[in-house]
């Protein structure tokens, strides 16, 4: 049995999922004096005892439970794009912390593709600043691209990694601008946490607490402000009242089912589980799933194309050293009339440890690499450098989350995730692979492997002003049910061409402000 604080009470807010968005919401709303329960499917880990400097054993930071994948380009899920446990994806993310640019919110207006967001860069600008300050993002004095050029709250990281220096050398030779990446990683002490020691295991969880995660930053603050944060609690249904409003959720903890009543329910369970929960909560009144009168729940999911290019050098590079991403360029971020595609991409110098390296190489473009060739490559592991892309992927209705007939251990239908690249996406990838290759070659390497890969998920419950073609408004409030909110990466309209989590967290701050405001005016009441 669990120790409970709010077992039989109706709380102000229940938050499903304690990841990037859920963590921010929990902190903001509990600090505003609201009663908050956070339900998280995965465990509450202690970085010192539960993390390890090891790839294999830290695979379970990912959402390992099976998703069925389909489409022309079936996705690799699990550790690759989904977190599980308090902190969600922030526990094992790479911590590259970028803002979106004004053009990211206006793909339809600028390029006639996808849809515009119902908000623009200027709406998020104050929230980006607040989040960056709150977690002391480190970054350059002058960031060359986009709408914000710095300075960042904390100085840029120094020293970098060998692979980052290599990347910057290559860029210099080609006249491509490069910069130290803005990172949610400390470059100096902050709130009792030490600066990064460049050990390089960001994707396995940061043991010294130098890297931000909501596990170590927002959730402890929320608990201090009175929030009840429950781990190992998988929410299985959103419960409807008789008046068309939600009244709470049911969840499973160690095999038993419980209910939590709440005035407001916020789903922050990420791009697969948020739509899955809405679809699994279908009832007589909402036979196609909750908040789905538009039919858009689960549709329009996106990833970033994330092709890796490996080149071999005559001298050792040692990809294991240092924070995985320390250098970046956004010179190819925006649409360029000279290209045969619209939108763009970011390029990062990206380190790799042996498991990730070999798993990638083995799936190389042009057929699997194994046997003697793989072994030979492994023996030369220290001689490879790598660049990776974060490419914009346009949304498509057919890329979606649906339910299958196969059940999980809770008896819930598993999610099916269908994904295929479109024509623009593949042209953009070809262009980026060319640029990455030329950077590595300018730095003195010989390109040997191109690895098809994807990163980050977005969309599936997109925001919009039109209730017939979107699921939520720009505050994450569902069009259909006023006291049901969605706040996570699923509400993105387009993917942008940079890492998304600064935007996820800024949207969460904005939603929190909105809920606080509404609550003050007593506009968010529970179901009768």
């Amino acid at each position: 049995m669990m120790q409970r604080k709010y077992a039989n009470e109706e709380v102000d807010v229940v938050i499903v999922g304690a990841g990037a968005a859920g963590g921010v919401l929990a902190k903001e709303l509990s600090e505003a004096g609201m009663s908050v329960v956070v339900l998280e499917a995965g465990p509450f880990r202690d970085p010192q005892k539960d993390f390890a400097s090891d790839e294999l054993s830290m695979n379970d930071l990912g959402w390992q439970d099976t998703r069925i994948v389909d489409g022309k380009d079936p996705l690799t899920m699990g550790h690759n794009n989904s977190g599980r446990g308090i902190g969600g994806g922030t526990v094992h993310f790479t911590a590259v912390f970028l803002r979106f640019q004004d053009a990211d919110f206006k793909a339809r207006t600028i390029d006639g593709v996808a849809e515009d967001w119902p908000i623009g860069y200027e709406d998020l600008e104050p929230y980006y600043s607040r989040i960056e300050k709150e977690i002391a993002v480190s970054g350059p004095k002058h960031f060359p691209w986009g709408n914000y050029h710095g300075p960042y709250p904390y100085p840029e990281r120094e020293p970098l990694s060998p692979n980052a220096y290599l990347f910057m050398n290559g860029c210099d030779k080609l006249g491509i601008r490069s910069s130290v990446a803005p990172l949610a990683i400390l470059s100096a002490p902050f709130e009792g946490r030490p600066p990064c020691i460049n050990r390089g295991f960001c994707n396995q969880g940061c043991m010294p607490d130098a890297k931000f995660s909501t596990l170590i930053v927002h959730i402890p603050k929320a608990i201090k402000a009175g929030a009840e944060v429950l781990a190992d609690c998988m929410v299985t249904q959103v419960l409807m009242g008789k008046d068309g409003r939600v009244r709470g959720v049911s969840f499973v903890h160690e095999g038993s089912t419980y209910e939590q009543k709440a005035k407001v329910v916020i789903l922050s369970a990420y791009v697969v589980e948020t739509p899955r929960l809405l679809l699994n909560s279908a009832n007589a009144q909402f036979p196609n799933g909750l908040a789905n009168s538009s039919g858009w729940v689960g549709k329009g999911i996106m990833v970033h194309s994330s092709q890796d290019v490996y080149a071999k050098f005559n001298d050792e590079i040692r990809l294991y050293k240092g924070t995985p991403v320390l250098a970046t360029t956004q010179d190819f971020y925006r649409s360029d009339p000279n290209n045969n595609f619209v939108r763009g991409y970011t390029l990062h110098a990206h380190g790799a440890r042996p498991v990730g390296f070999a798993q990638g190489i083995s799936k190389s473009q042009g057929g699997p690499v194994w046997g003697e060739r793989l072994r030979e490559t492994l023996l030369n592991y220290n001689y490879y450098g790598r660049v990776t892309m974060v490419g914009e992927v346009l949304p498509h209705e057919d890329n979606r989350v649906t339910l299958t007939d196969e059940l999980d251990s809770h008896g819930l239908p598993r999610a099916k995730v269908t994904f295929s690249y479109g024509d623009n996406d593949t042209k953009l990838i070809d262009h980026a692979v060319g640029k990455m290759s030329s950077i590595l070659e300018a730095a003195g390497g010989k390109v040997e492997f191109v690895i098809p890969d994807t990163a980050h998920m977005m969309g599936g419950c997109r925001m919009g002003d039109d209730a017939e073609a979107s699921v939520v408004n720009s505050y994450g409030q569902t069009h259909d049910i006023p006291n049901l909110f969605i706040c996570d990466a699923s509400i993105f309209v387009t993917s942008g061409a940079g890492n998304p989590t600064n935007t996820v967290m800024s949207l969460a701050l904005r939603t929190a402000d909105y809920i606080k405001e509404k609550a003050k005016k007593l506009e968010l009441t529970s179901s009768g």
């Binding site: 069925i68 994948v69 079936p74 220096y165 050792e316 042996p354 072994r375 023996l379 592991y381």
Partner: protein, 198 residues
Amino acid sequence: MTNFGHYPSFDVMKEQDEWDDHTQSIVASRLKPQGNFQFLTHAEAGMLNRICSILVSDQTPEVMNFVLGHIDQTLHKSPGEGQRKTGVPQAPELIREGLKAIDQGTRERYSASFLELDNVRQTQYLKDISESKAEPHPIWSRIPQEPLFQKLMSLTVEAYCSHPKVWSEIGYAGPAYPRGYVRTELGQVDPWEAKREP
């Protein structure tokens, strides 16, 4: 134990006292013999031993023993596969039925069990599977070949590249907490890292 790479005398385990306790116990446990498999039968383990060593072109017994132990535990505990393509059987069934098909397939094609074939034929048969070309068709009709190959590959590679012997061989300095890296310019190494030997 011979080390074939650029760093013949590097042994990453010499540094283990510098690692945090949790990491130390995880990595050290990989050096202990893994016996008493819970999922794999004796015959399946024998076949896998051969297949996995071809996939990574390395037969070092203690490394292969760890790889098999990892595969056995993964199939036994079934923590979830992250993702599985539509129409592909669950991992335990895919591997079990896949091994059966490999054995029967080579018996029909070459009148010899997989283990009785020479290395060249074994490798060729695995190559056929990787390209969904393995025959005879009736034996393979229910088993998707490329997904079988990919599953075997990813289970093998993730374990193989987690063995400290392989870390030493490739010159990977391994766990780095609480110590971290200080000398990170191109060409620099910290004192405990592997040094290239001519």
